[in-house]
């Protein structure tokens, strides 16, 4: 199987879907000739032309809104937001419109659109190029929110998102783009939206997380393994709606749960994960449900000292895991 980077898996998914179905098209800022500021759409403009790889004006509510209109007509738009931070002007279109179109029309209309955006920190992006914004949307039935951690999942989930009959938000960790590499099959496959994935089997403690933090957890798990501590790692992959069964199963398995997110702690999606566990398998727990997250400050600063202080990393995850294992 070819090994490729996370971003290449994403580009490939779009390319294959556009080849497969001419209703699929891409729109966003600088997605054309430039191929996107991170190069996620590199090559698509040359292959599919400016009618299917559309450089839009700098106006996110229009990117979302025009995409929604096209989706209602029956197209399969992939709308790119340059940074997750810049989705905010489009929140009305996403929450009030995309997520409610099927429901409010009693199943008469639908809105099969994918909203892609790079998110996450650790790239000297400062307050507005580093944020985790998923919690803003993770309370909107009608939406699905996907955050892949590996190239394999990225390709398979993005293809599933494009084929999904409902709106899907697809967040890509920008630091994973080139950092994370992995095997990606050559054949056409999809990964089911809504299903979490056990990324490591273990017996002593359970870590539940998503995005780049999955890799931090896996690295830390290796270190704990050296000391004979066995860590179970569940990658949520779809963070809304959550895969409740998988969460409950993973929590029950070890009875000690650490939840990890790069987002600010209070109000992040791991709060909901904790609630699901506390509601469904409280008596299976041997320790309080631990959470490791960013501090409750608006967003991570630019200066390396403060950025590092904010960001979770394998060391911080390792420490939290050891504390929990010793509980």
């Amino acid at each position: 199987m070819p090994v490729m980077s996370y971003i290449n898996a994403i580009t490939l998914a779009m390319k294959e879907e556009m080849e497969r179905d001419e209703k699929v098209f891409v729109l966003g800022e600088d997605v054309g000739k430039k191929g996107g500021v991170f190069k996620a759409t590199a090559g698509l403009y040359d292959q599919f032309g400016e009618n299917r790889v559309i450089d839009t004006p700098l106006a996110e509510s229009a990117i979302a809104g025009v995409g929604i209109g096209a989706a209602m007509y029956g197209m399969k738009p992939i709308a790119e937001f340059q940074f997750a931070d810049f989705i905010m002007p489009a929140v009305n279109q996403i929450i009030s419109e995309a997520s409610r179109i099927r429901y409010r029309s009693n199943n008469d209309w639908s809105c099969p659109i994918v909203f892609r955006a790079p998110f996450g920190g650790g790239v000297h992006g400062a307050l507005y190029h580093s944020q985790s914004v998923e919690a803003v949307f993770a309370n909107q039935p009608g939406l699905k929110i996907v955050i892949p951690s590996t190239p394999y999942d990225a390709k398979g989930l993005l293809k599933a998102a494009v084929r999904d009959p409902d709106p899907v938000m697809f967040f890509e960790h920008k630091r994973a783009y080139r950092l994370i590499k992995g095997e990606v099959p050559e054949d056409d496959y999809t990964v089911e939206i809504g299903k979490a994935d056990v990324k490591r089997e273990g017996e002593d403690i359970t870590v539940i997380t998503y995005g780049l933090a999955v890799h931090f957890a896996l690295q830390a798990a290796e270190r704990l393994a050296e000391d004979g501590i066995s860590v179970h790692v569940l990658d949520l992959r779809t963070i809304y709606p959550l895969d409740k069964e998988a969460i409950i199963e993973a929590a029950k398995k070890t009875g000690k749960v650490l939840l990890v997110t790069e987002d600010n702690k209070e109000g992040s999606i791991i709060g909901e994960v904790a609630a699901i566990i506390a509601e469904n398998c409280l008596f299976d727990l041997d320790a309080p449900i631990q959470r490791l997250a960013g501090p409750d400050v608006p967003a991570m600063p630019y200066a390396p000292t403060m950025e590092k202080f904010f960001m979770i990393n394998p060391d911080k995850v390792e420490k939290a895991m050891r504390d929990l294992a010793e509980f």
């Binding site: 809104g65 025009v66 929604i68 096209a70 209602m72 429901y103 409010r104 009693n106 199943n107 009959p165």
Partner: protein
């Protein structure tokens, strides 16, 4: 009054059709107010005063293929696009059979796929980028329909107006936007809403033609929209049309406009009631007479009565059906 409709290519029958549709819109709307005041339906938001704009515009479109993204007052527009009075009443009563939403949304939140009426919401102006998106999709697919969207003049101050029309302008998409300027956004008058001299001046911001027409005259509106439609179908891109008329009711059944509009103003606007003035035009041009007027009115009233009875007696959706259609079920699209 000179005969102006021949020049526009409209026959007498076309005009009677327009008149009857305007009257239907008015009578359905009036009925809803009665039902509201009788405590039978919780909410009404009216087309009254804007029927000429709506019917003039809708008749200039092709209701067999064009797509529309109407706003909440567009009872007249959706009637011409195929929504029936019965369906409108089902929506007013929030009954399960309501094709707009199965009783999920308030009346005025139109949507009906088979008639290419996009589903609408309450936050104003969100429909405008949708109309642009459908036009983009049509262009990409090589179809020759155009899209039509409407909004109030207050709503033309929303960011989505700007973003959507600029997108349409840059990509020269076949979208017609009609601003139904009734001079109020709830209680806020035009001069506290729109800083432009006229709303149509905004067209220049988007590189498209803009005109202001008398929204009480269905023929003027028809003419402007027809020209825009011809341009759009010719690949000449979008247009913005402002149709100025009056809001003849309070903003909605929850509002009392006497708190912010003078009695004189309310009295004065009765003279521009488009049902009366268009009726007068028809009579002066020998298209309508008292007998025919009565015949039309009777026919309309019978339909309104039947629609009301049917809808009133129709069942509500089951409580648990509230759980349905959050996402596609069982592989459907």
């Amino acid at each position: 009054m000179a005969n102006r409709h021949k020049k526009l290519g409209l026959t007498n029958d076309d005009l009677l059709n327009m008149y009857e549709t305007m009257l239907m819109a008015r009578r359905v709307d009036e009925r809803m107010w009665l039902l509201n005041r009788a405590g039978k339906i919780p909410f009404v938001i009216s087309c009254q005063g804007q029927e000429a704009t709506q019917i003039g515009a809708a008749f200039a479109l092709d209701n067999t293929k064009d797509y529309i993204a109407p706003y909440y007052r567009d009872l007249g527009v959706v009637l011409h696009f195929g929504m029936t009075p019965k369906e409108l009443m089902l929506s007013a009563f929030a009954k399960a059979e309501d094709p707009n939403s199965g009783g999920r949304q308030m009346p005025g939140h139109f949507g009906q796929k088979k008639n290419r009426i996009l589903t609408g919401s309450s936050p104003v102006t969100t429909q405008l980028p949708h109309a642009v998106g459908v036009a983009l999709a049509g262009k990409m697919s090589g179809e020759d329909f155009i899209t039509f969207t409407t909004l109030g003049e207050g709503s033309s101050n929303q960011g989505d107006f700007h973003e959507g029309l600029n997108f349409a302008g840059v990509h020269k998409l076949p979208v017609i936007t009609v601003v139904e300027n009734n001079k109020y956004a709830i209680s806020v008058p035009l001069d506290r809403q729109v800083a432009a001299k006229q709303v149509s001046d905004r067209a220049a911001s988007y590189g498209m033609p803009g005109v202001t027409v008398d929204g009480n005259d269905p023929l003027e509106v028809y003419k402007a929209v027809k020209e825009a439609a011809d341009r759009a179908r010719n690949g000449e891109g979008p247009s913005l049309i402002e149709a100025v008329s009056s809001r003849m009711t309070a903003h909605s059944s929850d509002d009392d406009h006497r708190a912010y509009r003078s009695a004189d103003e309310l009295e004065a606007q009765k003279s521009t009631d488009p049902i009366l003035t268009f009726g007068a035009y028809l009579k002066e041009n020998g298209v309508l007479n008292d007998d025919l007027e009565k015949e039309i009115n009777d026919r309309v009233m019978e339909i309104v009565n039947e629609a009301t009875d049917y809808a009133e007696n129709a069942p509500y959706a089951d409580p648990e059906s509230a759980l349905k259609y959050v996402y596609a079920e069982g592989g459907e699209e």
